[in-house]
């Protein structure tokens, strides 16, 4: 029986329609980025306003802040706070999440507390921390961590609830003991949940850190934005915002993604 034409499927390779051949992924990123820059420049040129500076003015500001060292000083301080709050929130949140996922009674009891803290506005935590503990570094980091802990706990709790009973029985039969089980059986199962919590966490933490700095710190990117606001210096606000976006992207590309790829290398 002859095969009809309309039932023939041809593989994509060699037909020149994969797209990758013309412009790579990186190429698309560059094109997209340049388009955004041009669009910004055009709108700024039309507006002709001190309150809507173009990319060149913002670039100038960025360079002068970098040259004076101000930029690195403030970005560095903010990054330090982000790191401290992030690590504290991950450690405490993971411990709470695992405990609640494993112990049903504790989960039933503390669920209400978790919902309370999940819905507590970030601003309230920040104000209360400053009021109770003073305008200190500890209060600032504590406020950020408290905002993040419930999210981490909820994500990791989901993972701890779904731990494989099959693998637990296996480690019991072969007498793995507590640490071996934790390291080779439990933590690898939780890794995707840690990664999800970390990724969502970083995005949330660095935004809240700026608010904390704005409200009660004498330095950091948040405080610089505050000054920019008071002076109506939009160039400065945008310069610091862009610097921060770049730093966060670099962390994402150079730290989080390689870590995730490493944790997932066993998957099919």
């Amino acid at each position: 029986m002859a095969l009809e034409n309309n039932t023939i499927r041809t593989g994509r390779v060699g037909r020149g329609i994969t797209g990758k051949v013309l412009v790579g992924r990186l190429g698309w990123t560059v094109i997209s980025f340049l388009t955004l820059l041009v669009l910004w420049a055009v709108v700024a040129a039309i507006m002709q306003s001190r309150l809507f500076p173009g990319p060149l003015e913002v670039g100038d500001k960025l360079l002068s802040e970098a040259a004076s060292g101000e930029l690195f000083y403030h970005v560095g301080l903010t990054l330090g706070r982000v790191a401290a709050a992030f690590i504290a929130a991950m450690a405490i949140g993971c411990a709470i999440g695992i405990a609640l996922g494993r112990a049903k009674g504790a989960d039933l009891f503390f669920d209400t507390w978790l919902i309370f803290f999940l819905n507590l506005p970030a601003l309230v935590t920040i104000i209360l921390c400053y009021v109770w503990f003073g305008l200190t570094e500890t209060a600032a980091i504590l406020a950020v961590a408290i905002n993040k802990i419930p999210n981490v706990a909820v994500t990791v709790r989901e993972g701890a609830r779904s731990l494989s009973r099959d693998l637990n029985e296996m480690s019991e039969i072969y007498r793995f003991g507590f640490w071996k089980t934790l390291r080779h059986v439990t933590l690898p199962q939780l890794a995707p949940f840690f990664a999800a919590a970390a990724r969502g966490g970083l995005a949330l933490v660095w935004k809240i850190v700026l608010v904390v700095e704005l409200l009660g710190r004498p330095n950091g990117v948040g405080e610089q934005l505050h000054i920019g606001f008071q002076l109506f210096d939009v160039s400065m606000i945008l310069a610091y915002a862009i610097a921060f976006i770049v730093v966060v992207q670099v962390i994402e590309l150079c730290v989080l993604q390689p870590l995730e790829a490493r944790a997932n290398r066993w998957r099919r």
Binding site: D166, E169, E172, I173, Y174, H184, P188, W266
Partner: protein
């Protein structure tokens, strides 16, 4: 009595009521003595409580009335499950190395030797999910044997494999068992497999299940590898059904 490696006594095992299903007595008055070095196969209809009996012997199920006694203090157990239960995030070699103590002096050598024995040397550094089910089962078999257990428990370890793969694994098991005699408790619903492997065959039946048949299988190692002989023996043994 001295030559018994294991004695499993289950006066009663019940599954608690779940939603619309009432409480169910699964096993009742089961008393099983397993001789040192014997290969005991437990068969019976599916759902009759074979796996439950094995889990009780393994200590995974403690929710029963009765007791499990070992002749040896702190007897070393291995369990080959229905699914391979390998850690997907560890390589085949790591999976097998993990069941040995960290400070085991010739650990790596033993892992290499057993991998060679089951024909997985080339797959040592592969992650389990990249292997076929048959190869994963080989790795699980290697893991069960590498600890040199006093008692090896096996719960339908060769189900859902194609016939050639299952047969080559059975042959491998017979060879491993012959070279390193171990007390084995093996659960299956496949009667041909049961006759091929067992030195003693136990049949569970009834509701709640109890031992309804207990027969010695007298076949030599060579005869076990001869399909005709195994099938003939099976016919004689189960001629009533």
């Amino acid at each position: 009595m001295d030559s018994n490696a294991l004695r499993v006594t289950v006066e009663e095992k019940t599954f608690p009521a779940v939603e619309d299903r009432p409480e169910q007595v699964v096993l009742s008055a089961v008393d099983l003595n397993v001789e040192e070095g014997s290969f005991v196969v437990i068969t019976g209809p599916s759902g009759c409580g074979k796996s439950t009996l094995l889990n009780i012997a393994a200590g995974l199920d403690e929710d029963y009335r009765g007791q499990v006694a070992f002749s040896q203090a702190n007897a070393k157990l291995s369990f080959m499950f229905q699914t391979p239960r390998l850690l997907p995030w560890r390589t085949v070699a790591q999976n097998i190395r993990l069941v040995l103590d960290d400070d085991c002096p010739d650990g790596d050598k033993r892992v290499a030797a057993i991998l060679d024995r089951v024909g997985l040397s080339e797959a040592a550094t592969a992650y389990p999910e990249r292997l076929s089910l048959g190869m994963q089962r080989r790795a699980a078999l290697a893991r069960a044997f590498v600890v040199e257990p006093d008692i090896l428990l096996m719960d339908e370890p060769f189900v859902s494999l194609d016939d050639p793969s299952a047969d080559s694994l059975r042959t491998l098991l017979i060879e491993l068992w012959a070279s390193k005699p171990t007390t084995v408790l093996f659960v299956t619903h496949d009667r041909t497999e049961a006759v091929m492997l067992a030195t003693r065959l136990i049949r569970l039946g009834g509701k709640p299940a109890a031992i309804v048949q207990d027969t010695a299988i007298e076949l030599s190692a060579d005869e076990r590898l001869d399909r005709e002989k195994v099938l003939a023996y099976r016919m004689r043994l189960f001629d009533n059904d």
